[in-house]
Symmetry: C2
């Protein structure tokens, strides 16, 4: 049975796996025929293979993922997430609100990330 606790545990695990940057492990949290729309309004990626390909864009990035606020009810979670990526030149921060639905086994059936370019901040790193 799906519970609020199971949903919030899966959201926390999602943030941990984002940080670990293993696309296949992230995709395992999704149901086989799940959909990802990031940002909402962009093309919908459907199925674990397409979802793993999407997250593989994170490969090799130094990334932190901090859950700022998590809410859950029914089959749905919404959470405010701060993702910071660091490259040689830039530190970039993006803070979407993500909305996920879950099946009865606690697998993610859909994810829509709500953010626009105004929610992304880039800082050039000072040369060292």
């Amino acid at each position: 049975m799906l519970t609020i606790d199971k949903i919030t545990q899966t959201v926390a695990e999602y943030a941990r796996r984002l940080e670990a940057g293993d696309a296949a492990k992230i995709a395992e949290l999704y149901a086989e025929d799940a959909t990802v729309e990031d940002p909402a309004g962009s093309a919908v990626r459907k199925g674990r293979a397409a979802i793993a390909a999407f997250y593989s864009e994170l490969d090799g990035l130094a990334l932190t993922a901090e859950l700022l606020t998590v809410r859950a009810s029914g089959d749905t979670a919404a959470f405010h997430l701060r993702v910071i990526t660091t490259t040689e030149e830039f530190v970039s921060s993006i803070e979407p609100i993500d909305v996920m639905t879950f099946d009865e086994h606690g697998r993610i059936t859909s994810m829509r990330a709500i953010w626009s370019p105004a929610d992304v901040v880039h800082h050039r790193r000072s040369s060292q």
Copy 2:
């Protein structure tokens, strides 16, 4: 055409009308056949009349509504909202994340409020 600006303006107007406590005025922000699910997982209210009846539960409550975080992309907004209601005995605070979709005219086509009882805090007012 629906724009991010139009969506965020409508969300701000929604918060203002919540504070004003006029259920009919809140319902006017919704499309005729819109749906409200508050909290997500509870019965879906469909149509402006049912939606106005839902918000009429706020009638006569002293209420403040503060938008903590607003995100928008595509046809969707997600926002973290703090609603504080004050009665003779209690001050109650609830901080859901609400998810709304919009039609091309900027009217709300669906609202799902993501919160659970753990997100509600009641304080007994000290006797005066």
